[in-house]
Amino acid sequence: MTGIEIDTTRYDSGERMPSVDSRIYSNRQIFEEELEKIWKKVWLVTVHESEIPEPLDFRTITIAREPIVIVRGTDGTVRAFLNVCPHRGNLILRQPSGSLTVAEPSGNANHMTCMFHAWQFDCFGRCVDIPRMKQGYQERLRNEDVALTELPCEVAHGGFVWLSLNPDSGPLSAFTGGAFDAMKTELETEPLDVFHYHKAIIPSNYKLWHDTNSEFYHDYMHYFNRATSMVQKGYFDRRYGAFPNGHATVGSMEVKYDAYKGAAERPLSFPGMERNGWKMVDLFPGATYNIRGSSLRLDTMTPISADLVMIEFRGLGLKKDTAEERAQRIRDHNTIWGPFGRNLHEDLLGITGQGVTMRPGTAPRRILHGRHENNLIHDEIGMRHYYAEWARRMGRSPANPMAAPIAMAAE
C-alpha cells in the first residue's frame, strides 16, 4: 500500500540524526507563510454531509481566517462559499449551523441574508435582492455582479465535505492520491453518520498535533495503548505507508481491548475491517482519519496562530446502525476518545507541554525526528514524510527554516 518511496526526505538526507528546528512551530512569520502557501492552497476535509442532511441546511467554518459557509442546495448538491457579504464585508451567517428555511429578521426564508443591509443570496450563491438597488446604484450594479465567492468543494472519502480556498486546486482525487486506498472499503461501503463532536483550543502549534497523530512512539504516554496494543501480537509489525502530497497511512493490528481493566472487546466493526482492527490515514496539512474497530474518529485542525490551534473531533458510525449498535459504538468511542476519555486527554496534555517549550520567542531547539525502524510502528517516517512535503511547499528547510528560502524540487 506504500504509494511512494519513503526512505528519503529532503530535509534529512545525509543527516545522521534527522531533526527539525523548533522555530517551524513557534515563528510567527513562518506561520503566516504557512497559511498562504499551504492552508490557502490545498484541499481540506471539513464537516460531514450528515451535518447538513436536508436541502438548505448549512454549516459555517473558518479556514486560514476566511469565514466559509457550506450549504446543501435545493438540488441536493453541497456547495461552499466565502461567508462574506460583497457589499461591506460583513459576516453573513453567524451561527455554527442552521437551515435557510428559517427567515431572518432582515431577510426572507430560503436565503442567506446579510443582516447589515439585507442583501440576500440563494443557496447557489446568487444575489437575489439588494434593497433599493436602482435608487442607489442606478445601472452601475446588478445582482449578478455580486455573487458570493464559490469555492472548490467535493463530498468524498466517507461523505466528508472537502474544500479549498484555491480556485486552481485541481480535483480532490489528485491531492489525496492513493492515501485512502487502504480505508476505501470501510469508508465507502455504507453511508456514515456523525454521533460525536467536540472541540479543543490548545496553546500549541498545529503541526505538533499532526506529529502526535503521525508517530506511535508516544504510546508510552498511554497506559491504555501499552496494555491493549504495545504488548500484544502484531503491534510492532504495523507499517507506515507514504503517499504523494505528504499523506501517510498506518497499517492495522488486532487490539486486545479487554487487556485494559474496564474495557471490553469491540464486537462491532466497519465494512471490510477485522474486529478490533485499527488503521489510520494522516492527511497533510492537518487531518487524521482513525478507525478503531467500531468507531471512526476524524480530527480536523484550524490553526489560529503560531501557538494556538483549534482541533475538532468527530466520531462516526454507520448510518444504518440500530439504536443498540449506535450506543455500543458511542461507548467504545468514549472509552479513550471522548473529552473524558483515557487517551485524548493525555494526547492533549502532550502537545500542551510542547506548546510551553516552543512558544514564539523561545530559544530554537533541535527536535528529533530520527527513529528509523524499517518504517514500522515506532519509526518516525510519518513525520519525516510530512515535513518533506512541508519543505516542498514552503521552500524552507525544516532543519534550518530561517535560512533564505530555497528552491525545492517538485514531488
Partner: protein, 169 residues
C-alpha cells in the same frame, strides 16, 4: 413508604438536598469511593451535551458503579491534569413520587478548575478557571438509609472543553 404530610415532604427534600450537596463536596475532594457510597448498586452516571454542529444530543461519558470504581482505580496509571475541580451547585427543584419511593432533582452547577499543572505551572498554578457549566439531573431512591443516587445525568452547556479531564464532573 408514603410521604404525605408537609413536614414529611420538607424533611425528605432537605435530606435529598443535603445528599446532592454532600456528593458535590466528596467529588470536590476527590473522595470518589465515598461519593459512590451515596449511590445505589444500580447507579448510572452519564455526561451529555447537545451539539448544534451535528444537531444531536451526544453522550460523552457513561458508566455504571462497577465501571466508575474501575475508572477510579485505573486513574493512577494514567497521565492526567492535576488541577482540582470544584463545584458550585444550587438545587433548583425536587419532585418526590406520590408513593415516596423515588425523587428527581435538578441542580444547576458550575465547575471550576484550579490549576496545579496548568499549561506552565510556574505561571498558572493556583489560578482558577471555569471548566464547565451545566445541570445535574438526578434520580434518587428514598430508603431507610436516606436518599441514594440511582441516576445522574450531567447535561453540559459547555461544549468546548479544551484539554478535557479524566474525572467525573
Amino acid at each position: 413508604m408514603s410521604i404525605t404530610t408537609t413536614d414529611e415532604i420538607e424533611t425528605t427534600r432537605t435530606a435529598i438536598r443535603e445528599t446532592i450537596y454532600r456528593a458535590c463536596l466528596l467529588l470536590d475532594d476527590g473522595r470518589f469511593a465515598d461519593w459512590l457510597d451515596l449511590c445505589a448498586p444500580d447507579f448510572r452516571y452519564q455526561i451529555k451535551a447537545f451539539s448544534p454542529e451535528i444537531r444531536k444530543e451526544m453522550t460523552w461519558y457513561e458508566q455504571d458503579v462497577s465501571g466508575l470504581r474501575t475508572m477510579i482505580e485505573m486513574l493512577p496509571k494514567h497521565n492526567t491534569d492535576h488541577g482540582r475541580l470544584m463545584r458550585h451547585a444550587t438545587v433548583y427543584t425536587i419532585d418526590i413520587d406520590r408513593d415516596g419511593g423515588n425523587a428527581v432533582a435538578t441542580t444547576a452547577f458550575s465547575c471550576y478548575r484550579t490549576a496545579f499543572d496548568g499549561i506552565n505551572s510556574h505561571l498558572d498554578a493556583g489560578e482558577s478557571q471555569l471548566f464547565v457549566i451545566g445541570r445535574y439531573h438526578d434520580r434518587l431512591r428514598l430508603g431507610a438509609d436516606g436518599p441514594r443516587f440511582v441516576e445522574r445525568t450531567v447535561v453540559l452547556d459547555t461544549r468546548r472543553l479544551d484539554k478535557g479531564s479524566h474525572y467525573p464532573v
